[in-house]
Symmetry: C2
Subunit: 223 residues, 2 copies
Amino acid sequence: MRISQAVEDYLKTIYRLELESKGEGVSTTKIANLMKVSSASVTNMIKRLAKLGMVRYESYYGTTLTDSGRKIALEIIRHHRLLELYLKEIMGYSWDQVHDEAENLEHHISEQFEDKIAELLDHPTHDPHGDPIPTKEGVIPEIASRPLTEVRESKDYLLGRVKNQDPELLRYLDDIGLIPGVRIKVLEKAPLKGPVTIEVEGESTAIGYDVATHLYVMSAKNS
Amino acid sequence: MRISQAVEDYLKTIYRLELESKGEGVSTTKIANLMKVSSASVTNMIKRLAKLGMVRYESYYGTTLTDSGRKIALEIIRHHRLLELYLKEIMGYSWDQVHDEAENLEHHISEQFEDKIAELLDHPTHDPHGDPIPTKEGVIPEIASRPLTEVRESKDYLLGRVKNQDPELLRYLDDIGLIPGVRIKVLEKAPLKGPVTIEVEGESTAIGYDVATHLYVMSAKNS
DNA sequence: TCGGAAATTCCAGTCCGTTTAAATTGAGGG
DNA sequence: CCCTCAATTTAAACGGACTGGAATTTCCGA
């Protein structure tokens, strides 16, 4: 039984929302908003997913992925992130181009293709955005990460993930050297959601608060 | 307007059949047989294609591709053959594995992806089967080719294309060195559709008549 | 307990691709 | 020239996969 693209997209969305709203089930409206469909459609689809054993569904409460559903979601996410990396590293795509292409292809590559690119990339654990790539078995190598806005001043960090797909933003970050893995130091955080001043490779730069909320970092051992 | 995979597949098979039955339009039944659907389905679809301006359709006579339809068919074929080559040369697929993967992916890659792989392959003109790859503009670099069964004895040829996708056959040919581009000499053609004996790289081999009909060659300047 | 937001039900519609069965067409043999 | 038969088209309908509007129900918090 072939799994449709729509089903895969629903599962992916539910997975994402499950991460945020820890604990309780995912609400119908949230799914509807994120996917830009009516809530009626969502209820419909969720019932189908429940019948297929991919989600647990309790009326008026919310939805949770079953192991089977989560496995599919993670497989798609694995495809997506492997593809992003592959497109960038091997095919010469730029950072801001990979997302859309991966979004299409993730639904259509075979397991063999998945294995090949993983191999060619030497079985990577993180994609170009710094997001972890689930293993074939559905295990995610998690990383401790906090947004740049909630971090101590005058301390060294490694930029972990950039939680945003906006091409303009990505190009901007690229320009100023903010690439996942780079070492940065927070010099000053202006109050009242003001800009965050950081040091990247010797240069100091001020970043808008909104942008900073998308930059996740982990602490670096002081060199 | 997104073109569905089914439409693309119909156009592709009409294109193939047009090549064979030179002149007249392509018959409904032939399409039906090749695609393994009922002839009613074919008539239906062809009318849709006609409405979309992709084929010329005259009741009870047959179907012809319009320029617009042919362009789409050639684009898909270009995707297919580029992909086959890419999968083999860069991703390390074996000759007999590429077809199925390409058959899926051909419908889903973007123009950018197409361009990238063409570039990485240095804009090739033929795929691993020896089939010509249409250009982006829809021009096919044709090659003069006759099946091995209709060729003079004791003369040198270059193997051009292998017109068959059967993995088992492809592996067999690979084993005995029958790869597109290889130089071969026809030693003997047994009568009554008997085996064809050829010399490949010093070795002489006998090939069944049925297999030989799939091997297309062009004459080689005698070394 | 009540009001409103969230969720569900009910129903309908669309699109795409397909099939069966009956009717039609056209071409070649007698 | 007609007749038969195979090829083709028509007609009707189905089913899957989604989707949406509108009415209804549920739940929760004030």
